[in-house]
């Protein structure tokens, strides 16, 4: 019984949150990696683009709530996803047309692209703050929990409760759906294959009659979907605050590089690697161990490897270690 209690504690406080957080990071990391593979630059506006899409979801959620439109026990935000995605894609294409395409045609070095994306980051941040302001916003409605701790305790008779927030379940399910569709698209359809060819060898792809404009367009469309959905899921699970989204860029980059930048599957797993590392290293194992060892050996301290203040630092340290030992990432990067 104690053993099961220990497992429940661990699942409740580490595995479920890490799975949800990892899914959110994974969507962002695939977004980064896709832009890197096809358009060949590190997009420093990642966090703010995700924030931009989420902003529309937040505003539309408020609007739908005011006219009484909802999904019952599901959050209203799910209803806004298609509209937010459309706005996001329009914004990305606009940016691409006025900013990035010039440098793409000139074949500028990646560093210049990165600097340009910093400019885009500034502009996007300004637009977001001017439209919605910098404050913290919650836009979750509907049923908050699928499984409450007390219900679980009654059901199983265990000491420890297991909670499953609806946002966590939604995050994991939606991520799996989006990511499977994306991998199917990249690997099985003709357009996806042409994208992979373009990413692999641009000149050869052009020679075989692949239209670069189309490839770029499709890339931004997929990127828009990933960015918006990732952002909305994060906002539902925690809350929406532009500054936090900007900071999220850093673990997302870490996830993309750890998985091997340019490799979507690597980025997908990288998201979970980063999330699990962050949560497992900063979790206090006191209660978990208390169930496993006899009472006399119960630990006094929190049994925490690092304090939660260092949450971000953990993921960055992992990145540094990966860069040192295996600069190409866990999976070899630079192909989709």
């Amino acid at each position: 019984m104690d053993f099961i209690n220990a497992i429940v504690v661990l699942t409740n406080f580490t595995i479920i949150p890490a799975l949800a957080y990892g899914s959110q990071l994974a969507l962002g990391a695939i977004f980064v990696t896709l832009i890197y593979a096809v358009l060949r630059f590190a997009n420093f506006a990642t966090g703010d683009m995700m924030s931009f899409g989420t902003m529309f979801a937040v505003l539309l959620t408020y609007y739908f709530q005011s006219i009484g439109l909802g999904l019952g026990f599901l959050p209203t935000a799910l209803l806004t996803i298609p509209f937010a995605i459309i706005m996001m894609i329009l914004y990305m294409l606009l940016i691409d047309k006025f900013v990035f395409s010039y440098y793409r045609i000139k074949k500028s070095p990646p560093v210049q692209f990165a600097m340009v994306s910093v400019g885009v980051m500034f502009v996007t941040q300004a637009i977001i703050r001017i439209i919605i302001g910098p404050s913290d916003r919650r836009f979750l409605d509907g049923e908050k929990f699928i499984l409450k701790a007390t219900e679980f305790k009654e059901m199983t008779g265990l000491n420890e409760g297991l909670t499953l927030k609806s946002t966590q379940a939604i995050t994991i399910v939606v991520t799996l759906i989006i990511v499977s569709i994306m991998f199917w698209f990249l690997n099985k359809t003709k357009t996806g294959t042409s994208m992979r060819a373009y990413s692999d060898n641009e000149d050869l792809a052009l020679l075989s009659g692949i239209d670069p404009k189309r490839v770029v367009l499709i890339t931004w469309v997929i990127a828009g979907v990933l960015a918006t959905v990732g952002g909305i899921l994060y906002g539902l699970d925690k809350s929406y605050r532009p500054f936090v989204y900007f900071n999220n860029m850093l673990p997302i980059f870490a996830a993309a590089i750890v998985g091997g930048i340019g490799n979507p599957f690597g980025a997908f797993l990288g998201g979970y690697v980063i999330a699990f590392a962050e949560i497992l290293i900063t979790y206090a194992y006191k209660r978990f161990i208390a169930y496993l060892v006899p009472e006399s050996m119960e630990p006094d301290s929190l049994m925490q490897l690092l304090s939660t203040d260092y949450k971000f630092a953990v993921s960055f340290s992992i990145l540094v270690i990966v860069l040192l030992i295996r600069p190409s990432g866990i999976f070899k990067g630079k192909t989709i």
Binding site: V118, V120, F122, V123, F253, D309, A313, V320, L323
Partner: protein, 456 residues
């Protein structure tokens, strides 16, 4: 003379702008802006050495700035004797443990061939060392943080004059740059950018959360300054006399004696803050001029030529027998050390150390915009970039407010759009900076004052 005409014109425009702020807003604000411009200029000189001379992209400016600030605390604050007695020994032991770990690992790496056992050995040393560190450190840290936590709760510094801390900042930042350079300089440009950004984030989070070191997010206030305090000035006779002489015309117009006294004391208060800021301006200006002369000399020296050769074509330079790895590491340390000086200068200017305020947006990306906008590879350009961008960063909000009021003046005061726009005026600075960067990158990719190298 003609070849400098661009530079002179650009700097005069900048000077006029600052003077305009002085005339229309207040001299105190103008001097604050000027001081921050000078600090930004030092940072851009550092970033320009790395990016403009050697083509190294360093997005970790924030980390070095924060270390420079930390140096001010560690050098100038008086030591907290009680804290040293409580836990100083543990901290010193920890320091030696770290040294032993590093030496042991270096020994293993040097004298043993690469094998599975060596890797296990290194892993064992690291894990064992960390456990040992935690065991020794945690009682010490707890004891230190318990010493009068509202005021101290940290080890304090060395109690030296604050100007020494600027050199200390350079050394701390250079030391970090040495480690980062060893780890990350082999990476490709955009990887290097991300890696440095994340390492800076780690450094800042350590400074934020290790409260025994510099009080972390509880901030250190009331740091020493190299200039007199306003209060002292306001009570010293020579200063009052000076102000009286300066304003004698205005004062003589006032007839009543009490009114004259009131006016005089108001002038003294204003003048004291201006005087203190002028002192800082003088100090900062001398740092900027010294750095400018040194970097300008370096740029035209054989060393500068070598750096440009490496930047423009690494393979060719390598074929000519230049040690690229070594040169990159050296210039990375040099640039970071200068950024460290700037960080120390900034904390000295503010008189307080607030680790919570170090954000990559402000201390990394804005600095980079300064370098790009001003002109990469050109020191005059980099400094100008620091001035222009900082000026815009500060003055964008008032200008935006003015424009919003101007264009919405036909709307009623309570109009929702107008109220919303006025509330969001501070965020127009992001818009101005972003659009400025994008425009410059597109139409003048080498910056306002582009790099011009003449062979002498």
């Amino acid at each position: 003379m003609r070849k400098y005409s661009n530079i002179i014109a650009a700097y005069s425009i900048m000077l006029v702008l600052i003077l305009l702020v002085g005339i229309f807003q207040s001299w105190s604000i103008a001097l604050t802006i000027l001081n921050y411009c000078l600090i930004s200029a030092v940072m851009t000189i550092g970033a320009n050495i790395q990016w403009g001379y050697a083509g190294l992209i360093n997005f970790g400016i924030m980390g070095y700035t924060a270390l420079g600030g930390l140096a001010v605390v560690l050098v100038s604050v008086d030591p907290v004797q009680q804290a040293w007695q409580a836990g100083g020994l543990n901290i010193l032991i920890c320091f030696w443990i770290i040294v032993v770990i590093v030496v042991l690992i270096r020994y293993l790496l040097k004298y043993f061939n690469k094998s599975k056992y060596r890797t296990y050995g290194i892993a064992f040393i690291i894990i064992g060392g960390i456990l040992l560190l935690r065991l020794t450190a945690s009682p010490g840290i707890e004891a230190i943080e318990a010493v009068d936590p509202a005021k101290t709760g940290f080890l304090g510094g060395m109690g030296l004059p604050v100007l020494f801390s600027w050199i200390g900042g350079a050394f701390l930042a250079g030391g970090l740059a040495f480690i980062v350079g060893k780890i990350a300089l082999g990476l490709r440009a955009d990887y290097l950018a991300i890696a440095t950004l994340l390492i800076a984030e780690i450094v800042v989070s350590i400074i934020k959360h290790e409260e025994w070191l510099a009080r972390g997010v509880k901030n250190v206030i009331g740091l020493k300054r190299p200039a007199p305090y306003e209060i002292d000035l306001q009570t010293s006779q020579w200063f009052i006399n000076l102000v009286e002489k300066f304003h004698s015309k205005k004062l003589s117009m006032i007839n009543s004696i009490t009114e004259r006294q009131d006016a005089l004391s108001q002038f003294v208060i204003d003048a004291s803050s201006v005087y203190v800021k002028l002192c800082f301006t003088g100090l900062f200006l001398s740092v900027v001029i010294v750095l400018l002369i040194v970097t300008q000399k370096a740029l035209y020296s054989p060393w500068g030529r070598k750096m440009r050769a490496i930047r423009d074509n690494e393979e060719a330079a390598s074929a000519m027998g230049k040690n690229i790895v070594k040169e990159h590491l050296f210039i990375f340390i040099l640039g970071s050390a200068i950024v460290g000086i700037a960080g120390a200068m900034m904390v000295t200017n503010d008189g307080l150390f607030t680790p919570g305020s170090y954000r990559p947006m402000r201390y990394t990306f804005v600095i980079w915009v300064m370098v790009i906008v001003g002109g990469t590879g050109n020191n005059f350009g980099a400094i100008l970039g620091g001035f222009v961008v900082w000026f815009l960063w500060v003055e964008a909000a008032p200008m935006a407010l003015f424009l919003i009021n101007f264009f919405t003046s036909h709307l009623p005061e309570t109009n929702l759009v107008r109220v919303h726009l006025i509330e969001s005026a501070p965020y127009f600075r992001f818009l101005v900076i972003g659009i400025g960067l994008l425009t410059i990158m597109r139409y003048r990719p080498k910056g306002i004052l582009p790099e011009k190298i003449e062979i002498k």
